[in-house]
Structures are given as structure tokens and as C-alpha cells.
Amino acid sequence: MIAGEALVIAVIGGAVGCLASLPLAAPIAGGLVGHGAAPEGFHASGNPVPFAIAFAAGLFIAEVRQ
């Protein structure tokens, strides 16, 4: 039962987190450019791999944590 609940938490939390990450990455990329750490024109572009990794990490942590 707890594992099932953790699964619900992980799926909902992971989906929300993935959706929130793109708007979050844009200002970070902007900040890196602003401080001269990244070249002008650098921006965060969509890529499914980080989403998959983050989602899997959320799932793993939720299931282990319970």
C-alpha cells in the first residue's frame, strides 16, 4: 500500500517537476550568460534524456524513502 502511494507521489511529483524544469532552466542559462560563464547565445534546449533521468530518480527516491 505504501509502495502504491509512493508511486502515485512519484508520478505526480515527477510530472510536475519535469514541466517546471524548462522554465527554471531558462533563467539559469540566462544567468550563466550574464556572468560570462557561458558564451552569448547559450540557451537551454529541450532534450528528453534529462527528463527521463530526473523522473526515474524521483521514482527511485520515493520508493526507497517509504
Binding site: M1, V8, G14, L32, F42, A44, N47, A57
Partner: protein
């Protein structure tokens, strides 16, 4: 089992919501940093060279020092220019359909009433020879190619935003200085190329003189002969041209675009952020070094100075 979990949730709504928020925040942080890393590591893409199968540029790796003192390899960006004679050599390699010498140089265009021609979303205008148009490809939608030193073909986006028609007169500032040109045609790159730059095309004879790069090209764009795969083409080019040049595939072609100063830098973004050292860390010459400060303290506290002082 899931049903029981859902039923009991109603009694623990706050902790349930809290767990979701915690997971969501964690996942968004991991995904956001992962996105940044993926963007930094990603290939530069084709950029303006969307129509090529391969691009030849000068080998940007330079060995520092010589003989026993050889200290490592530095990558210069943008890479040095190539002799224009190389274009014919590339064209002679088997499997090459067309080889086009590409030039990209800053060209700032001013419209009929002295107004700067610019496009929202594009931060620079690059000048090229008309032959470079086929590398994107830019296709004429009005007028004709530039003939002679006094004519230009401009990007359709520039023409639209600057309300410039064929036949209009523009002042274009190029490395050779400001010159007046007549717009002989308007070309459009349909959903191809690099949206952050716009193009002005000069005649192929005039472009190297205006860029002050006579006898040189920035890169050679190569379009494969029919039936030759890009991989085969690249292998033939690498074998036929030797180690003085680097052959890039379409996925990395933007790195050879002299009009895209950021594409090449993106490659070693993670490895060596160039301006961190200068802007964030204090320069060693401006602050006393730790060992100098330690020896000063040591000497100040115990006169006469001991032998170990400053060691």
C-alpha cells in the same frame, strides 16, 4: 491496494501534498540542471550550413611549444582561414558534387533613410559571396543574383522589416568600409539556417575584397555527388585532404560558420569556461599570494627572522 492508499490519503492530505511538492522540487532541479548540461554538450547543429553534407575547415588544434617542450594542444576559435585554392582541391576529391568556398564577415546594412536594417530575434547581419547562398539554401524570391561589385541580394527578413524593395539603394558597412549598393534581389531561407543571423550576399568577385580576405575562405561547404552517402564523403575528404584541415558532418557544421562565433565555443563550454578566471577569481598579481603573506607574518612576529622563515 492502490484504492486503500487513495482512501486513506484524505486523512493525511497535508503530508501527501508535501511529499508531492518535495518530489516535484527535487525532480525539477535535477531536470533543469540536466537540461543545461545536455544543452552545453549538444552538437552545434547545422546552423547556416543546413544544405551541406560536409564542411571543411582549417584544423583548429595548435600544438603549443615544440620538440621536448611541446606542452599540449590549444583549440583556436574561430579557426584560421583557408587558402582559396583549396576549394578546387576539395572539388576534385571523388564523391564531391559541389564544393563552395564560404566567407562570412560582418555587414551592417542601413536602409534608404539611413535606418539600420535589423530583424527581431537576429543579433547580427553577415556578408557572404552569392555562392554561399546554396549552402543554406537561400532561394531568390525576387530580382536576380548580384552582378558586379555594386549589387547585393538581401535576406527576405531584412527586406520585410526594413521595407526594402528590389532596386533600393543601401549603405552597407563591411570590413573594407561603408559602400553603397543597389538591391538586385531578395532571397529567403525557408525554415532553414540560423535564425539568429541575417545575410547580405555580394557578388563572388566582390565579397573577398569587401571582407579584406582576398585569396582566402573561412570554410568549404561540400554537397555530395548523387548516390554518395555523407559518411563516405567525409571519409574520402579526410583521406584526400590530409591533416591540415578538419572535416565536419552536418550535425557540427555550424562550428565552421565564421558568422556564428558561439557555435565553436559551445563545444568546450563545460571543459573550460574562459571568463570565470578573469571575472570571478582575483588575479594573482593584484592580491598578495598566500605564501608571501605567510612569510611576512612569520618575519613580523619573530625578529630576527629564522632560517625557516618564508619556507
Amino acid at each position: 491496494m492502490l484504492a486503500v492508499a487513495v482512501r486513506t490519503v484524505r486523512w493525511r492530505l497535508v503530508s501527501f501534498a508535501g511529499a508531492i511538492v518535495a518530489v516535484a522540487l527535487g525532480v525539477s532541479l535535477v531536470a533543469a540542471t540536466g537540461l543545461l548540461m545536455a544543452s552545453a554538450l549538444a552538437a552545434s547543429g547545422a546552423g547556416r550550413f543546413a544544405a551541406v553534407d560536409a564542411v571543411v575547415q582549417a584544423n583548429p588544434a595548435i600544438t603549443v611549444g615544440q620538440g621536448d617542450a611541446a606542452g599540449g594542444v590549444a583549440t583556436v576559435s574561430p579557426p584560421p582561414r583557408l587558402p582559396a585554392g583549396l576549394v578546387a582541391r576539395v572539388g576534385a576529391v571523388r564523391g564531391v558534387g559541389r564544393a563552395v568556398g564560404d566567407l562570412a564577415f560582418p555587414a551592417v546594412a542601413f536602409g534608404p533613410r539611413g535606418r539600420l536594417l535589423s530583424v527581431p530575434g537576429a543579433d547580427r547581419t553577415e556578408g557572404h559571396g552569392w555562392a554561399s547562398a546554396q549552402l543554406t539554401p537561400y532561394v531568390l524570391v525576387a530580382g536576380r543574383p548580384p552582378a558586379g561589385a555594386g549589387e547585393v541580394v538581401i535576406d527576405a527578413r531584412l527586406a520585410r522589416h526594413g521595407r526594402v524593395q528590389v532596386g533600393a539603394r543601401l549603405i552597407v558597412v563591411v570590413p573594407a568600409g561603408p559602400r553603397e549598393f543597389r538591391v538586385s534581389g531578395i532571397a529567403v531561407a525557408q525554415d532553414q539556417g540560423d535564425r539568429t543571423q541575417t545575410a547580405v550576399f555580394f557578388s563572388d568577385v566582390a565579397a573577398p575584397l569587401l571582407a579584406r580576405t582576398a585569396g582566402q575562405v573561412n570554410a568549404v561547404g561540400v554537397i555530395a555527388a548523387p548516390g554518395v552517402s555523407p559518411d563516405t564523403l567525409r571519409a574520402m575528404l579526410s583521406a584526400g585532404l590530409g591533416s591540415g584541415v578538419q572535416v565536419l558532418d552536418r550535425g557540427h557544421a555550424a562550428a565552421a560558420d565564421a558568422g556564428d562565433p558561439w557555435a565553436a565555443q559551445r563545444a568546450d563550454l563545460l571543459a573550460r569556461p574562459p571568463s570565470w578566471r578573469s571575472s570571478w577569481w582575483p588575479a594573482r598579481s593584484r592580491s598578495p599570494s598566500p605564501s608571501a603573506a605567510a612569510s611576512w607574518l612569520c618575519c613580523a612576529r619573530s625578529a630576527p627572522p629564522r632560517g625557516s622563515c618564508g619556507g
